[in-house]
């Protein structure tokens, strides 16, 4: 990995996190209820996109360098596990069991499925 590639990856990560901040704010302004839909949407969309990107790189449609910058960098900064875990634990502490399980296990299963769909699409394109 060249120093330039590393810097681009880091910058892309910064950009991804800013997108997360903005998008979460937009979603929170438009939603109500216990489940943090902003984080859910971000993690689901990011998982699908990384699956797709990985699949496209694997089938040589896209260069591997893009996986570092857009995948590890942008999507890694865009999605976040720590926030999802915090929000899940917070829901469980509030005894919102269904919401907690949905936000924790439900989102994990859905995100894995979304990534799997992305991987498959990237491979067949």
């Amino acid at each position: 990995m060249t120093p330039l590639a590393f810097v681009l990856m880091a910058a892309a990560g910064g950009a991804g996190a800013v997108c997360r901040l903005v998008l979460d704010g937009v979603v929170r302004a438009r939603t109500t209820g216990a489940i943090p839909w902003g984080t859910v949407l971000i993690n689901l969309s990011g998982s699908f996109l990384l699956g797709l990107l990985t699949g496209l790189v694997g089938s040589r449609v896209l260069p591997e360098a893009l996986l570092l910058v857009l995948g590890t960098g942008f999507l890694g900064g865009y999605t976040t596990y720590s926030t999802a875990s915090f929000e899940t634990v917070r829901l469980l502490q509030q005894r919102r069991w269904a919401a907690g399980v949905a936000n924790g296990l439900g989102v994990l299963v859905t995100a894995t499925a979304a990534a799997g769909l992305g991987l498959w699409l990237g491979a067949v394109v």
């Binding site: 910064g14 926030t83 894995t112 499925a113 992305g118």
Partner: protein, 173 residues
């Protein structure tokens, strides 16, 4: 925004450095697992410690954005978790794939909870609410157990309506 950008750039860099230093073993991305678990602990500690310190303004807000949303948010990753798990399952290793995903969920959750509990050690028990006028004097201190579980009084039916330490809505981190 700049706080988030710089923090995340550092967090992403740290993650990649660790992933390079500790490659996947038998297809399981141990580095990412460790990153997500340690990051969950750190965020639990950070957010609860900040919330106990006072309202989400000024330096506290800057710390939340740069360290929470930025550094820890960029450090941990959901997309890699999901993609690696899906890849393992799709490549004919459903056992390791599922185990990896569930281990992250459980260990990450415990780590978050431990981070929140650790925040009660950093902060004076009974220190101020997330929003409002700061530390309340003259209020009975909540027990450590109450702070961890978020439960204070019991209702007549024996169930409590749990109150989380921070009353403010959680934010993107």
């Amino acid at each position: 925004m700049a706080l988030v950008f710089l923090g995340a750039a550092l967090g992403v860099s740290a993650r990649e450095a660790l992933v390079l230093a500790f490659p996947a073993g038998h297809g399981v991305p141990w580095a990412v697992l460790g990153i997500n678990v340690t990051g969950s602990f750190a965020l639990g500690l950070l957010l609860d410690a900040l919330a106990r310190g006072g309202p989400d303004r000024g330096r506290r807000r800057a710390a939340r954005l740069s360290l929470g949303t930025g550094l820890i948010g960029g450090y941990t990753t959901y997309s890699a978790l999901a993609t690696d798990a899906a890849g393992l399952i799709g490549a004919g290793s459903p056992g390791p794939g599922l185990a990896y995903a569930l281990a992250t969920l459980l260990a990450g959750g415990v780590a978050t909870w431990l981070g929140m509990a650790a925040a009660t050690l950093v902060r004076r028990p009974g220190a101020g609410p997330a929003e409002g006028a700061g530390p309340r004097r003259g209020r009975p201190r909540r027990s450590l157990r109450a702070q961890i579980t978020g439960r204070t009084r019991r209702s007549p039916s024996g169930r409590t309506r749990a109150r989380s330490p921070a009353r403010c809505r959680t934010r993107a981190h």
